[in-house]
Symmetry: C2
Subunit: 562 residues, 2 copies
């Protein structure tokens, strides 16, 4: 059996190694257009910043290692240009010599990844505009920085954009992030990332939201970026990270089936419409765990597992890939943002009914040092309580809770299940009631009718009739509160029930995070108040939702939120 | 409805608060023998060490707070002494006045916890012997340290013993840990904690294993401990942490059913044999998730959830507690040890069939700084692949993986399920193939017959016939290897197959952690070798299993392993 694999990173490398373990006799050839195989593409920003000191540590494997340990031939600098499906041959170009040749295959695995999207504006070919996709991209950026530059623009505030912005800032550059949407990390719901906006500001990163670039021009060795608002910005270098497109040109011209998301269509064994051709990684279309939609999700974890599954099937195993839920995590300086399953915006767009929760919880016991509050949002099916998705933004312990919630999403667990999870607790690691248990408690309270929530974005519509009731201490109230809110601290609620009965109903209660207001909710409901609502996530989520970071021309920080 | 709760910490406090949220009209009284309610008992060691600076931060709630926010009457310094089940009254003693009185109840919740076990040897009442169970215990220990002491003995190396040893050492004391078993953390399998032994030595903590105390005598203001081996030891103070016993004296004399584990028997709603009396927390008997045995498991997480469930049921809800799996975690200086589900020793004792795996994996991408290898052991059902238990010892990321595996144990997931988990990956947090995925890959390889393991403890029996084959580099081999092993590095295996065929069979392969040896296993099996075995966890697990930390009289570190 002769297996040819196009692409030697992530999915391709995994497939090659797995195929060898299952079939010692197979002839296995990996064709890689670039000069490197199996490099740590997720580590690139961290070598720019200097956090990863040695460039060599990004080279996970080498062609020599593949040959010696796996008896796999890796040809770097060889690009597959055409598939002849009838003859089962691949047309290959040796990029160093220009020579073309045919390589026959019994089975072919495509792992070509996705190409960074480009901007279609004048000057978009400016030599100071870089992608951050592979080692040569990284080398060019580092070389440019080392050549002496002061400022950088990062266009696109997704995962790579955030990592690039952090890296460039840590190198001492003045960094401006330009994002066309009204938030960074557009896959998250907006109220979840407002604290990231603030943190970027704290770190001296300027963020221009709702902003796009209409032209790049030369300016003093660097360049000038014309923005859609008419302003302009100078930058010595620019990192473009506005998304990726599955690299399917060769597959398309070979007549392989391409899906609506522009990824290659594959079955559960990663087999394309041609039974001898498989495809894995960023170039394929997958099924979303929650929406069942066909989507393209460029993530390293699924790519690696798909590579393994393709090799399995080629070697006669029945391994199957199921769905992709989009579990992802990103470090933004000292903060961590993570997501799994469907966001609220995806659920709204696809018309899937949901209830949502907002919680604030410390990463570990609050009395043990080194922790901070994390903001958790979780969506569940309003009838079954099935967890549909979650997002967490915070500092310590975010990665742990998103992984536990990722299992909940994948396994179809309900809020009732989360109540009973027995997770590891000691003060340096968690709480006796873990944040994930708390998601279960809150969700189950909703399902059992023990609480009804109101949401920050419903203000000022909700609250325009009735009463907004702040049950924090008068001191907390004095530091900031919802406009028009009446302050009756929780410990005065029982003595002042008569007064509360006299207030316009319904009553929209809130406290700092939603705990005390829930206690008051339970008092009022049992005292016969029929229309009471508890603010999900309390004042902290309210601020995350409504706080606008104003333009401040005196600082290096400016946010335009239109 | 009048609800009386005996014990105001963890389960009792949770029950009280939950009952109030469900029943605003109930009369709720909490009787607490000590002077504090709802304090952070898990935080006590960390205030001794000074990591938690302020004593007040251990006071989570106060009687005043219970009154003001929950309308719950808390009586500290009041001890329940007798239950009259017929009259439904509780005999209570006010410890400050000595006065006794009856308190009627409609429903009673017992949350009396467990008492620290005592040593039945001469001198065991020495005033310098302390427990570490509550705030007064902690205060006494701190006062003794502040009075000027140099040395401490910690008797019993379970969770509290380890935390106490760390705390006392961080306060600058010479610390000796005395443990009757041949390992610290006796709930773990021994080979998992040998690295903890080493780490304790690095931190200057002396550990005496297989050692017990036969007598305590006065000596120079401190005391002298006579050890079972005939040696003796002086210490200025001693922390006794040899386990706990459910505090069931009052329940027993009231005729409530007590289980074989000495905990109170309760149904799924935490109801005792008396339908008006509930019990929660360390004093009750629970069902083990894996063995289905009736056991007592003193852990904060279950206690809190049981309190909630008891309150639910009293207030007419059908909430039910299922099983306890013993998920637990402990920090030992810079290391973390965590466990969930059944250990190998429990599986052996109960005769449950299992396959075991040993893996080594970094907490996050190895090229990103700040990570270390973690040692993972997982047990699964050999026919279904169901995960029965796991233990992890390492530094970063241990807590995350044990929580994910805790879900696997609770939900009955198999190794096949773990292969497909989609966990959050970015270099600072994990790997594209997460350690938990790797447990799945290895387990599935066993189930599918793709690998057969041999285990470190099988040496020297295994290897006495056949060949032990070290496939690491000659340099690695030269630093240390299994006695009698032949060294053929992986990259020379294919060219030297003829030589390998000439070696005595079976072949017991190993490398550093089990990855390269698995590749060689696959080569040999497919080349027709019929008897080949891969060493689970490789040289690192072999060392964890066989390395004996020798007595060294010149250092402050001495281990006696008999």
């Amino acid at each position: 059996m002769k297996l040819v694999i196009v692409g030697g990173v992530a999915g391709g490398a995994s497939a090659a190694a797995r195929a060898r373990r299952l079939d010692e006799q197979a002839e296995i050839i990996v064709l890689e257009r670039g000069q490197y195989v199996s490099f740590a593409n997720c580590g690139l920003p961290y070598h720019i910043s200097g956090v990863i000191d040695k460039r060599d540590s990004l080279l996970i494997s080498t062609p020599e290692n593949f040959q010696e340990n796996f008896n796999i031939e890796v040809r770097t600098g060889h690009e597959a240009v055409q598939i002849d499906r009838k003859q089962k041959t691949l047309r290959v170009q040796d990029l160093s010599s220009g020579r073309q040749y045919n390589e026959a295959y019994d089975k072919l695995i495509l792992s070509q990844g996705a190409s960074p999207a480009r901007l279609d504006v004048p000057g978009a070919d400016h030599p100071r505009i870089f992608f951050l996709r592979n080692l040569p991209d990284m080398d060019q950026i580092i070389q440019t920085i080392d050549g002496g530059v002061r400022s950088a623009a990062v266009i696109g505030a997704g995962y790579i954009g955030m990592e690039a912005a952090e890296a460039l800032r840590l190198r001492g550059l003045e960094v401006t992030v330009i994002e066309i949407q009204e938030q960074v990390l557009p896959l998250f719901d907006r109220e979840m990332v407002n604290d990231v906006h603030l943190h970027l500001a704290e770190k001296g990163v300027r963020v221009l939201l709702g902003t796009s670039v209409s032209e790049f021009c030369d300016a003093d060795g660097g360049m000038q970026l014309r923005l859609n608002g008419g302003e302009s910005l100078t930058a010595d270098l620019c990192v473009l990270s506005i998304g990726v497109t599955p690299e399917v040109a060769m597959a398309r011209s070979a007549g392989l089936s391409i899906g609506a998301s522009n990824g290659i269509t594959v079955d559960q064994h990663q087999c394309t419409s041609d039974p001898d051709i498989y495809a894995v990684g960023d170039m394929v279309e997958v099924t979303d765990t929650i929406t069942s939609a066909a989507v393209s999700v460029p993530l390293a974890g699924p790519a690696n597992r798909q590579g393994r599954i393709a090799a399995d099937h080629i070697c006669g195993r029945e391994s199957a890939y199921t769905t992709t839920q989009g579990t992802a995590i990103v470090k933004v300086f000292e903060m961590t943002a993570a997501t799994t399953g469907a966001s609220e915006k995806v659920l709204r767009r696809t018309g899937i009914p949901f209830e949502k929760m907002h919680l604030w919880h410390f990463g570990h016991a609050s009395y043990y040092p080194g922790t901070a509050g994390m903001h958790i949002k979780a969506m569940m099916d309003p009838s079954t309580g099935r967890i549909l998705g979650a997002q967490i933004v915070g500092r310590d312990g975010v990665d742990k809770r998103i992984d536990v919630l990722a299992l909940a999403v994948r396994l179809g667990l309900t809020a009732y299940d989360l109540e009973h999870l027995e997770l590891a607790y000691a003060p340096p690691y968690g709480s006796a009631k873990d944040p994930v248990n708390m998601v279960g408690f809150v969700g189950a309270n909703i399902l059992r009718g023990d609480v009804r929530f109101w949401h920050a974005e419903d203000f000022p519509e909700r609250g325009s009739t009735g009463t907004v009731l702040d049950v924090r201490t008068s001191r907390e109230y004095s530091y900031g509160h919802i406009e028009g809110a009446v302050n009756i601290p929780i410990n005065e609620v029982r003595p002042r029930l008569a007064e509360l009965r006299g207030l316009p109903q319904p009553i929209f209660i809130y406290c700092l995070t939603g705990i005390r207001s829930y206690l008051v909710y339970r008092i009022l409901i049992q005292e016969g108040f029929s229309e009471v609502f508890n603010l999900a996530g309390g004042w902290k989520t309210f601020e995350s939702c409504h706080r606008r970071i104003e333009a401040d021309s005196s600082a290096s920080v400016m946010f335009t939120q239109k």
